[in-house]
Symmetry: C2
Subunit: 277 residues, 2 copies
Amino acid sequence: MTQATHAEFTKLLQARYGNQSITVEAVNETIATMMNHRSVRAYTDQPIPSDALELMMAAAQSASTSSNLQTWSVVAVTDPESKERLSQFAGNQAWIRNCPVFLVWLADLARMESLGQKRNLPTEGLNYVEMLMMATIDSALAAQNAAIAAESLGLGVVYIGGIRNQPEEVAKELGLPPKIFATFGMCLGYPEPTKLSGIRPRLAQSAILHHEKYDPTAFESAANAYNVVMDEFFKAHSMKPQGEWDAHSLKRVAGPESLTGRDRLATALKNLGFELK
Amino acid sequence: MTQATHAEFTKLLQARYGNQSITVEAVNETIATMMNHRSVRAYTDQPIPSDALELMMAAAQSASTSSNLQTWSVVAVTDPESKERLSQFAGNQAWIRNCPVFLVWLADLARMESLGQKRNLPTEGLNYVEMLMMATIDSALAAQNAAIAAESLGLGVVYIGGIRNQPEEVAKELGLPPKIFATFGMCLGYPEPTKLSGIRPRLAQSAILHHEKYDPTAFESAANAYNVVMDEFFKAHSMKPQGEWDAHSLKRVAGPESLTGRDRLATALKNLGFELK
């Protein structure tokens, strides 16, 4: 890495950790690509080349998958009317309508079930919480590789947790068989450069990385410092947060009414064929 | 990318998709790093530099996190006795004992709960399946960035789903407060070059990438071709698979007894403070 790139990388680290700094010697383009991530919610009109999507999938499929079961799939939606409906199901997020390609990532146990039917072999294990957990993790590992591949190609993404607001409606829209659950969405497009957001700072590493045992006190000092860092970030980017980070975050988890419909996720999963044993 | 690297990349694509081929023009080092992934279960004695772990965490924290709640943590275990016990809890996997650093990735809702107690604000939302799902996904996105960062630095990893075999024992070992769940482990170390496994082929892209709607028939033709590809892979690497890929995979999901203890995951989660509402 050149000296100029090294300086750029140090800036990325400072942006991610606010006024804290980490000294690192071994840096490279791959890590810099990841450090440079920001959610992209505004796109140019440039279409996505088909080889970009192929490369994203090749990266996604290169991620680890439990026991090589490959319990995930993805639906690429470009139809404007379908994107419009999916946007409504996910809390009316405009970027779902406006992105050229909307990817819906799936925890997919239907494929294993269809194999069992074909071979006339039992698949009772699919009815357990564990298999939903496995498929959800598989889908996330794959999606994150796809996201990094996209960003390395100059594309931008934003994850859409709101796709879990109305799981049955999403399943109907995409024609999902039973035992498939849309874990999250991902808007994909070339970033509109004038609307690029800043790199969002995170908690200090001391709050999230524990050594040998989990240390519950590690978070306390970091939380206060982080409130200050986030306050500075919001001011620098002329954003209007709803109070300090911790107060704002607590609103998000206050009760069932703050979960934007997802308080009924267990019921929705059962309706989609997951027995949650 | 140089022509030589382009040729190397084409090989990676062929290894991942067996006898199929994809033509791509836009390739780069970041995507090549991801395509080159294989699980690493044998390591040299070389210790992990502390800046490598810092960079992995910086990459991990650069991943998207739902509503910026950052509901994940990680414990880095190096103590031989602790690794030995964790290995036993996870199906006696030798590489957990033998790797220099064993990372245990956590879905962490305890941090939000402690914030609520400090601020005297409600956190009833944390008791819902949705928040466990969110934290699990957060942990997976972070872990995958860390894995890619590690591989870009010449390190190797293998994910350990077996950490979910005995969740309460793992929680005791790591001193986890309630509302924290170890989603998976990750062995980390420099790969022993003589024991590097081959790149494992995956299903054809046509089986996992759907356009506009989910196509249940897409898998059928791909499955037969994949059995052949995997058979060739096993033969080329002198491995002894337990039958064809689909028969082998079906054994893994046949029933509760094939889930290596994880059929009681719902109960374990409740014991760990997740109400699963």
